[in-house]
């Protein structure tokens, strides 16, 4: 409390000084505010698999709020973010987010050649497989580094970056140190290639964490290297990245550092595509071997994504239907040598997308056009030879396809029938191996059908109706769902939705997850109010997921910028 007041007084004082400067129009000031509040309620009707009702947590009223302020003066800028989690953070967020405090701050100098930051900063090298610091409030991720960063652009076609710092965890930072460098060179500019865009990148990242383990068989410092290339030529493009992480102790269970299984890691990413007007095809292949990277070894696999250093997205389609987001793939970069049926050294797989537009006026295209999107992905455990008993060990094969973990085949057809009416139809088929993805039991096969239509009444009034159904052969089995969204005008919208797990074998767990809510928008402000039930499970953004428990209640969210 004391801290907060001090912070507020200091900020207000500095603000008033700044405000005077603003009148001279020398200092530029902007910022944003976001608040997500939830009032959890008891709900006797919402039963879990053991027939327990849903009970509110000890502090039923919780709120996550973020205030960001940014000041700019000539080539200098400074920013500060305050965060408050009262009383406590929303359910199942990292418990280290507790109370209110200053979360991040920075001071930055930038001109066209050089950019220097001291304080907290966000950065990504290449695709992020070795290093990415970012913020995702919905997932409770903010793994900014606190330290320094220098970006230097000696010419138009070379960018050099170097970073050094401790990673943020809750309102604190880790003891371990992360440092690294990255360079990107645009070759096509150097060699004045007219029809090609070619760029190269090189990355180095290191994590230095002193270990408590007596006689460790690994070094405190783990180094990682990557090289990448990007080529565009007319309608074709290609990119590839190879990452290598030096030997380090393997962590199979969060918190347990295995001093007898010391392994390097690597990742290969390959992407190819071709696109022209009305047609596009894109294919990605990825092989990950022992590739998760945390700023502290023992943090590996923690459920809050705390101390995560790299970004390993799931290369599958991000569906916008509710039922297609029940069985969501999470990438499996880690080693597991648990039993004969549960061995992996990572993952291997691919994804393909095809987009095609049937022209307006053609037979299938109709008067207003028809669009088709096909997507397929398949991910297997990375296989090889595994030695289960002491000492545990493994060797991998390059194309080591172990047990299948996930597959998704889907098609989406969008058709505009008239200037007022548009519809989308989707079919999705998924395979989900609970053992490998959740360390639970069983395999689920699903078939999902979804259809939606949007109809415009007037220029700003419209309605969207969506229906979906999932057939699943295991776990919670069949579901049906519907959503109706009504846009009253450009400022107000309302919606009502229900997901019904009517196929659940446990009769008491055949729950309805109903929700009703509304949103108001004006300029930079959006306010949304919702009442209903939250399905327990994974909330995922970009393939990084957070588990949320079942809950029932009222939520209010507000965001604005100024």
């Amino acid at each position: 409390m004391k801290k907060i007041n001090q912070l507020l007084i200091i900020s207000l004082l500095s603000l008033s000084t700044f405000a005077q400067e603003i009148e001279k129009e020398k200092i530029n000031f902007n910022g944003g505010f976001e608040s997500n509040s939830q009032w959890y309620l008891n709900d006797n009707g919402l039963r879990d698999e053991f027939d327990n009702p849903t009970m509110q947590p000890e502090q039923p009223l919780r709120s996550n709020s973020y205030l960001f302020l940014n000041f700019k003066y000539k080539k200098w800028s400074a920013g500060i973010q305050g965060e408050s989690y009262m009383e406590n953070a929303l359910l199942n967020l990292n418990p280290k987010y507790d109370g209110a405090n200053v979360a991040t701050y920075f001071l930055q100098y930038r001109n066209d050649k050089i950019d220097v930051t001291a304080g907290y900063f966000y950065e990504q090298f290449g695709s992020g497989l070795l290093f990415r610091s970012w913020e995702d409030r919905a997932l409770g991720i903010n793994n900014a580094l606190r330290g320094g960063r220098v970006i230097f652009k000696p010419t138009k076609y070379i960018t050099l970056k170097s970073i050094y710092g401790n990673q943020r965890t809750g309102f604190d930072v880790t003891k371990s140190v992360v440092y690294g460098a990255d360079t990107e060179i645009i070759l096509s500019d150097i060699f004045r290639l007219e029809t090609y865009d070619v760029s190269l990148g090189l990355t180095f990242v290191a994590r230095d964490e002193k270990t408590d383990i007596v006689n460790p068989n690994f070094d405190d410092v783990t180094n990682a290297f990557a090289a990448r290339i990007n080529v565009n030529h007319d309608s074709f493009y290609l990119s590839s990245e190879f990452n290598y992480k030096t030997e380090d102790a393997v962590v199979q269970t969060p918190g347990i550092i295995d001093n007898n299984l010391i392994k390097p890691g690597n990742a290969l990413l390959l992407n190819l595509g071709y696109s022209k007007k009305g047609f596009g095809i894109d294919a990605s292949f990825r092989r990950l071997e022992n590739m998760s990277f945390f700023s502290e070894r023992a943090a590996k696999g923690n459920t809050f994504n705390d101390k995560i250093m790299n970004f390993i997205p799931s290369l599958t389609k991000q569906h916008h239907y509710n039922l297609a987001n029940i069985y969501v793939y999470q990438p499996q970069p880690n080693v597991s040598i648990a039993d004969v049926n549960f061995v992996k050294a990572g993952e291997i797989g691919a994804q393909i997308d095809v987009f095609y537009d049937f022209k307006k006026g053609s037979k299938i295209g109709g008067k207003y056009g028809t669009k088709v999107a096909l997507n397929a992905s398949n991910w297997n455990a990375l296989g090889g030879t595994f030695y289960l008993f002491t000492p545990q060990d493994y060797t991998t094969d390059f194309f080591g396809f172990g047990k299948r973990m996930y597959a998704d085949y889907n098609i989406e057809i969008t058709k505009k029938w008239s200037p007022k009416l548009q519809s989308i139809f989707s079919y999705i088929n998924q395979y989900y191996n609970k053992k490998f993805i959740e360390d639970a039991i069983g395999e689920v096969n699903t078939n999902i059908v979804a259809a939606e239509a949007t109809y415009k009444f007037t220029s700003t009034q419209s309605i969207r109706v969506m229906g979906e159904h999932m057939w699943a052969d295991y776990d919670k089995k069949n579901w049906a769902g519907a959503t109706v969204e009504f846009n009253i005008n450009s400022k107000f919208s309302m919606y009502v939705s229900d997901l019904y797990n009517y196929g659940n074998d446990l009769e008491y767990a055949q729950n309805h997850y109903y929700n009703v809510g509304g949103a108001f928008r004006k300029k930079s402000t959006r306010i949304a109010l919702n009442y209903g039930r939250q399905r327990g499970g994974l909330v995922c953004v970009g393939g990084v997921c957070r588990f949320v428990p079942e809950s029932s209640g009222v939520s209010l969210s507000l965001n604005t910028s100024f």
Partner: protein
């Protein structure tokens, strides 16, 4: 008490807000680096930055609509639309086939680690800002069918 002070803090700050285009450099879809304030600085021209992602259906609806009508509007106002993709490395590879497939004529910026989005405190997309002489003169948070008509009416007054 804490909430009250926060609220006070918040209102106190809004009074002095005056927003300019953040000082950032971003990558274009062709891999070129552009410095925002140098690239979008034609005097009195309106630059409309529309923040979107390949997985965001309302964003794509908005950009589809704008693409269809922008030529008509250009007869009445001097503006350019820039589509800022906030796709992270999960979906960034879909940007190119998607925009080519749709035949959008926008300049595309890649905000892969969301520096631009964060600098403007954007929480949800779609989110659209209008910039004139390096100052943000209008913001539209969200999109519903028809928002583009209001946007155009607004453009004529800026």
């Amino acid at each position: 008490m804490k909430k009250l002070t926060l609220l006070f803090f918040f209102t106190a700050t809004t009074i002095f807000a005056q927003n300019s285009l953040p000082d950032l450099s971003l990558t274009t879809i062709d891999g070129k680096t552009v410095i925002l304030k140098n690239e979008f600085n034609e005097k009195d021209k309106l630059y409309i930055f529309s923040f979107w992602a390949t997985w965001c259906a309302p964003c794509i609806n908005e950009l589809d609509e704008l693409n269809d009508i922008q030529e008509d509007w250009k007869k009445e106002a001097n503006f350019e639309i820039i589509a800022v993709s906030t796709d992270d490395s999960r979906t960034q590879k879909r940007v190119k086939p998607l925009i080519n497939g749709k035949g959008w004529s926008y300049r595309i910026l890649l905000d892969t680690n969301q520096d631009f989005k964060r600098a403007l405190s954007i929480v949800n997309i779609p989110y659209t800002i209008v910039v004139k002489n390096n100052k943000i003169v209008h913001i539209q948070n969200g999109y519903v069918p028809g928002s583009e008509i209001e946007l155009f009416e607004k453009l004529k007054t800026l």
